[in-house]
Amino acid sequence: MIEMLDVWKTYPNGTNALEGINVKIEKGEFVYVVGPSGAGKSTFIKLMYREEKPTKGTILLNGFNISKLKERQIPKVRRSIGVVFQDYKLLPKMNVYENVAFAMEVVEATKKQTKPRVLEMLELVKLKNKLRSYPSELSGGEQQRVSIARALVNSPGTIIADEPTGNLDPETSWEIMRIFEEINLRGTTVVMATHNREIVNTLRKRVIAIEGGRIARDQQRGEYGYEG
């Protein structure tokens, strides 16, 4: 469960990225976050995995009050969610298997626990045949699938995705979306910022539109609602 109560974010250069956000995302929901570039979408997402800290307001995530979090506790919060990025953020010098296993090493899982779990996740994203490949040898879609496997490997209750299909062609984007839908059906909350009109309008889910730092629209089975 994610809840934001009157959240404001002002960057050091004076930009007001968010102005009084109130939102509640229940467990098991699938939410699109849409809006024009520079409207505060990215900030909204970054607050959830605590890459940014709110200037004012409260953010509750899986029982943590992450607006009052101490530096030391940040890793704990990040482990309770899975994050997928537009630029994949894979470790370039580790192969596919190692990249996914890394997230489990971080939580000090045993080798015995790690191996089957990593293989299971790579099976889910259909990359079991590329275990020993390095990120530079993979296509964009494949890299994104590795990053999804990594986000899922510790069975987080929530997946946060920042434009996961932003760098991918339509067909590959749909492959990725099918994976997100699959994990959502298994009970994982999915929050996804996107610019992809086709996806939002086809795979109907809750849509939160952010404009000028405020929530302009919040509707179940909503539309993308912007041109292009």
Binding site: Y49, E51, R72, P75, K76, V77, R78, R79, V83, F85, K89, L90, L91, P92, K93, F102, A103, E105, V106, V107, E108, T110, K111, R150
Partner: protein, 297 residues
């Protein structure tokens, strides 16, 4: 931290060295080269210091007692000499012994001086050594004014020059070593910093996946330790082999006979431990300093 996590850090740290092949090689080379230069100067400085010590220790004051002084008075004089706080040792050479030595120095021509025992022209003599050779002159001047002292003899001008030179050599040596050590530190730390800056994205990603700072730091710590330690092996081997060769050379060559080099045995260990320690310390230091900058994500 769990034991297997420590194992993971050790594995990861050493694997990072091969993963970043050329960067690691650059770091280790810069460790090796700077430590080698440092080692050469260290050996040089230690030996110069050793030689200076040997030369200085040969400095002594010869005190000649007036002719015909009673034995009791001579003993009293000996006591007085020993009472100087700066004096380390006093050796008495009675004139009979002095004559023996004198005769011995003529070898088989000693018979020339047969009969001199009856009317020994020599004086009783004390050989005085000071604790710190620098105090020789001051002590000698004071001994001169003691009763029954005929004269004192020490190489006055030579000693002054000797001390000016040895002090200068020591100071220059220390200055060189300190300057070199600092240069080495910055050079190595900088190279290591470059290898880590190239990996700032990796560190950022690790943090986003939920790794704690110490989890990220450990492999870097081990990597720095290994690179510094391994980087010091080659210069240590080169220096020790070179030094041993030099010792052999000096012992065989009569022209270099006067060069009294420090023996290999304690020196080899001291040098190895010191250089390896410096290497490891700088490796870890450079590595930690650089990671620290990127941990704030």
């Amino acid at each position: 931290m769990k034991v297997r996590t420590m194992g993971r850090h050790l594995r990861e740290g050493s694997r990072n060295i091969t993963r970043n092949g050329w960067m690691s090689f650059a770091s280790m080379s810069s460790v090796a080269i700077t430590l080698f230069i440092l080692g050469v100067f260290l050996l040089l400085a230690l030996n110069v210091n050793h030689i200076a010590n040997v030369v200085e220790r040969q400095v002594e004051i010869r005190v000649f007692v007036k002719q015909g002084v009673e034995k009791v008075e001579v003993d009293k004089l000996a006591e007085k000499l020993k009472d100087f706080s700066q004096v380390e040792s006093v050796t008495f050479i009675p004139k009979e012994e002095g004559l023996e030595n004198f005769k011995k120095s003529f070898g088989d021509k000693a018979y020339w001086f047969e009969g001199l025992e009856k009317e020994n022209p020599l004086s009783d003599e004390f050989v005085v050594k000071t604790k710190d050779p620098v105090e020789t002159e001051m002590v000698a001047e004071r001994i001169k004014n003691l009763p029954y002292v005929e004269s004192v003899n020490y190489a006055k001008d030579m000693i002054k020059k000797l001390f000016t030179i040895t002090t200068m050599i020591r100071n220059v040596g220390i200055g060189f070593i300190v300057a070199l050590a600092f240069t080495a530190m910055f050079l190595i730390a900088n190279t290591i910093k470059l290898t880590i800056v190239a990996r700032r994205r990796e560190i950022e990603i690790m943090k986003l996946v939920g790794a704690t700072n110490s989890f990220i730091r450990w492999p870097f710590f081990i990597e720095g330790l290994l690179m510094g330690g391994l980087g010091s092996v080659v210069p240590i081997l080169l220096l020790l082999l070179g030094y041993r060769y030099l010792i052999d050379l000096v012992q065989v060559d009569l022209n270099l006979y006067f060069l009294d080099l420090l023996p290999l045995n304690p020196l080899a260990w001291q040098l190895s431990v010191l250089l390896m320690g410096i290497g490891a310390f700088i490796g870890v230091w450079g590595s930690m300093m650089s990671v620290r900058r990127f941990l704030k994500v």
